[in-house]
Amino acid sequence: MYSEKVMDHFNNPRNVGEIENPSGVGTVGNAKCGDIMRMYLDIDDNGIIQDVKFKTFGCGAAVATSSMATELVKGKTVQQALEVTNKAVMEALDGLPPVKVHCSLLAEEAIHAALWDYAEKNHITIEGLEKPVNDISEKEEGEEEEY
């Protein structure tokens, strides 16, 4: 069901863990849907993401998208990180099954949540960053009609 890339990131997730005193941390998703992602960012004075860690409660796709998302933002500027979309995450993973697309949205949202926290802590505004919705499921469309 999953691509090899997804399985690789699920089996060997990059950047799992916590960062003590992070520059920003965000948690999105909700346990009701079965997916929660937490992203920690360590951002230096130049606005470069020096380190990133995640923890995820969720399915294989949730773990893999979190892992891939951390890879995509690491070393990037805040502005570049903001441009990491769910599509980018999915493409980097060679695709996801249709029912799992929401996991990639969650990963995008987790980055945004951590950046928002960073911005708030530092009293700055990051252009283009909207207040993230913690519960991504509210953004999603209703499930396909049950026959």
Binding site: T27, K55, F57, C59, V99
Partner: protein
């Protein structure tokens, strides 16, 4: 251990080699349509008759109360829709439970759209239907009570005899979805006041795509699949002779081995439950500890999610499930686990291990050892577990 450890027998089972053996001649040799008039047809007709007898004997029914269908889902649909059709003039109220299989629940939803009213009786924290609620739900226009014999996810066995008694005291028909119970625990349609019963071949080491519907003589429901005059004009379609022979043989074996088999399964099951409950923290057993299918283990591990567990178990060669196999397409956690009162978060961490008598203690021990590693690993990357630990340490 590179051998597959199959612990998903509630989803489907291996066709026993002796069952397949019995089926084989009816594909390419005795392939006749049993309805035909020539002697070549009487060979397959005889095989069908024999199978019907074996199935009847397993549930103490009469041979001509057994109808063959295309599976458990068809039987469930038949029971509900045809009862609704036949008894609509008496009433349009049906009682079922919140933990039925989707073959019942989605059929009920369909009937609701057709103007029927369905009462979904609640269950207690072990998944047992609340009998007082059930009895209180009966109205003058109630035409049917449909409660499963045993639950496919948490294994809880319902007080079927009591439910049948209540139904009959109120002059209401009683159907039971016995797909998980048939061949696994003793069923007696007379003693248990069962009017209709659904069963499926592939849950008892018989073939897929063949089911059974028991209809007590006198129950006036007609066809669900209309057409030819097969099955005493109640179920149209050329008889699936090899499938029928298969479910017949499987029923015969199930009857002969039930006592020994379930004793073996219960001892494996209890060993598995005991090890999990004592060696893994933050876990709960779902379903009734005692009134439980011999082969069912269902547990929730807190702070982790089921699919990740399944993938890692798969990599260790273990086939398991989390929620009903039929609904793995859905994102919602199992309606059964919610019905017994679990919050979503915990329901998502459910694991169902359903064994067979062919499993060994070594396999079970291997699975527990693997599980311990898997759960530790998943918890170590779980934000929920992180929060929990931090709260503990405060």
């Amino acid at each position: 251990m590179s051998k597959l450890i199959y612990l998903d027998n509630a989803a489907t089972t291996q066709v026993y080699p002796e069952v397949l053996q019995e089926m084989l001649p009816y594909f390419s040799e005795v392939y006749s349509n049993p309805s035909a008039i020539y002697s070549f047809a009487s060979e397959s007709k005889k095989a069908v008759d024999k199978a019907r007898t074996s199935v009847a004997e397993l549930i103490n029914a009469k041979t001509d109360e057994i109808y063959f269908t295309g599976g458990g889902s068809e039987s469930d649909n038949w029971a509900l829709k045809a009862t609704a059709d036949a008894y609509a003039s008496k009433g349009k109220h049906i009682i079922t439970s919140t933990i039925e299989h989707h073959a019942i629940l989605h059929t009920c939803a369909y009937l609701e759209k057709k103007g029927f009213e369905i009462t979904y009786v609640n269950v207690d924290e072990n998944g047992k239907v609340k009998l007082d609620e059930l009895e209180a739900a009966i109205r003058p226009d109630t035409i049917l009570i449909s409660i499963m014999t045993a639950n496919n996810e948490i294994g809880t066995i319902q007080p079927v005899r009591e439910i049948g008694r209540i139904a009959h005291e109120h002059g209401v028909l009683f159907h039971t979805d016995a797909v998980q119970a048939f061949g696994h625990i003793p069923i007696d349609v007379d003693e248990m006041n069962i009017d209709m019963l659904s069963a499926s071949g592939h849950k008892i080491n018989g073939p897929k795509g063949i089911g059974v519907m028991y209809i007590r003589k006198g129950v006036k429901i007609l066809s669900f699949i209309h057409g030819g005059a097969q099955e005493r004009k109640r179920r149209a379609g050329t008889l699936n002779v090899p499938g029928i022979v298969g479910i017949g043989k499987a029923a015969e074996i199930a009857k002969n081995t039930m006592a020994e088999r379930s004793a073996k399964e219960i001892s494996l099951r209890d060993h598995l439950i005991d090890r999990i409950l004592t060696e893994i923290p933050y876990v709960r057993l779902n379903g009734d500890r005692h009134d439980r299918l011999p082969n069912n283990v269902n547990v929730c591990f807190r702070y982790i999610e089921g699919e990740s567990m399944l993938i890692l178990l798969d990599q260790a060669g273990v086939c398991a499930s989390s929620g009903s196999a039929c609904t793995s397409g859905s994102l919602d956690p199992s309606h059964v686990l919610l019905a017994i009162g679990l919050p979503h978060e915990i329901a998502h961490g459910s694991l169902r291990l359903t064994l067979s008598e062919k499993n060994t203690v070594e396999e079970i021990d291997f699975v527990v050892d693997e599980l311990k590693k898997i759960i530790e690993r998943l918890r170590s990357m779980s934000p929920l577990y992180e929060d929990f630990v931090k709260k503990q340490n405060k």
